[in-house]
């Protein structure tokens, strides 16, 4: 009964461990900004912990570097199950602006399986809160892939057999409509 009560009371209270594997500190500052009284993520039960062994969620900031990838993987393996990984910032989501450097292996998902992405460079504190709220089921995600497809050729194909008239006055019958 106490277990059930605890699960009900402490459900969805995520304890986060923040792992910077070679970012520029921008995302770190935004994450710490989330914990200030103004944004206050502690009302969702989110708490910053110092060790991956206490954490439910790892916030990855920065790309997987050559030197830090092994440490990032070890930190992930040290977390108890069930565990989530959030990639925060464009470095962790896609490799960052130095993605083609020899030292950068790529996004964080090359080393650890990433569950949620918060793109931005750095993401606003609200964006991080939004990502966490999506993960906690408080809000629905807003983004969806957008595809635009032109269905018809805007200008008709040229066919010499459609030319009418002779000499100076030649009219092309399939000319584009005026005002196009």
């Amino acid at each position: 009964m106490l277990k059930n009560l605890c699960q009900k009371m402490f459900g969805r209270s995520l304890w986060v461990y923040h792992a910077n594997s070679g970012g520029c500190n921008g995302c770190d500052i935004e994450v710490v900004n989330c914990l200030t009284p103004y944004y206050d993520v502690e009302r969702f039960g989110i708490k910053l912990v110092g060790s991956p062994r206490h954490a439910d969620v790892m916030l990855c900031q920065g790309p997987a570097n050559r030197s830090t990838a092994a440490a990032l993987k070890r930190a992930y393996e040290a977390m108890p199950n069930p565990k989530l990984v959030f990639a925060i910032g464009s470095c962790a989501c896609g490799g960052g602006i130095w993605f083609d450097s020899y030292a950068v292996l790529g996004p964080a998902e090359k080393v650890v399986p990433v569950n949620y992405y918060v793109p931005g460079c750095p993401p606003r504190p609200e964006a991080i809160i939004w990502g966490v709220a999506v993960a906690a089921g408080l809000v629905d995600k807003k983004t969806a892939p957008v595809t635009f497809k032109q269905v018809e050729l805007p200008i008709p194909r040229y066919h010499p057999e459609d030319l009418k008239g002779k000499g100076e006055l030649v009219v092309y019958e399939k000319a584009p409509r005026p005002g196009f």
Partner: protein, 180 residues
């Protein structure tokens, strides 16, 4: 004295009111100067691929499956929202929106795809040469040594260049011998 100061502190704290934002439950807009996710307007886009050539993160891919169709794909994984694509676009088809709530569980959600018919020459019926080896029109230059080639299927760009490898000539027809 100590109790008095505590009481005074309590009064100050109670008088300050509530500072925390009720953020995810009430919408909040970014300031007007904030640069968020770029929005691609397929109706205005002419398919010049200037954005793809200027993207520092190389997150806009271009691919021509045939002579008349061009596919532009914005992946946005490591986009830093620098706005260079929007500055460059001659038709102002890209606008930097104030969207920041991009947290998602699938990174493909922030991608945007535009599939365009390229207008063709009325005389010869083509706007550029067919993609093939050996030709050197501007599109083919993307595939030249030192230039990149977009692999839309795997959502990545690759250098066609092998020039940085040892023993590989920098240019096809000039073999540079470094040894005396």
């Amino acid at each position: 004295m100590s109790i008095l100061s505590k009481l005074l502190e309590t009064q100050i704290c109670l008088g300050a009111g509530r500072a925390t934002m009720p953020y995810p439950f009430q919408p909040r807009t970014a300031p007007a100067t904030f640069r968020g996710r770029p929005i691609f307007d397929g109706k205005k886009c002419i398919g010049c691929a200037g954005c793809a050539n200027n993207c520092p993160a190389r997150e806009i891919l271009v691919f021509d499956p045939c002579q008349e169709i061009r596919v532009l794909k914005y992946l946005g994984r490591r986009c830093t929202y620098c706005g260079r694509c929007a500055d460059l676009c001659p038709e102002k088809a890209i606008t930097m929106s104030g969207e920041f709530e991009n947290g998602t569980n699938a990174i493909g959600d922030i991608s945007q795809t535009i599939e365009l018919f390229m207008s063709t020459c009325q005389r010869c019926g083509r706007c550029f040469d067919e993609p093939s080896e050996g030709k050197r029109n501007p599109l083919e230059k993307l595939k030249m040594k030192g230039y990149r080639f977009d692999d839309l299927k795997n959502e990545r760009w690759i250098f066609r260049s092998q020039a940085y490898l040892e023993g590989q000539p920098v240019v096809d027809d000039i073999a540079i011998d470094l040894k005396d």
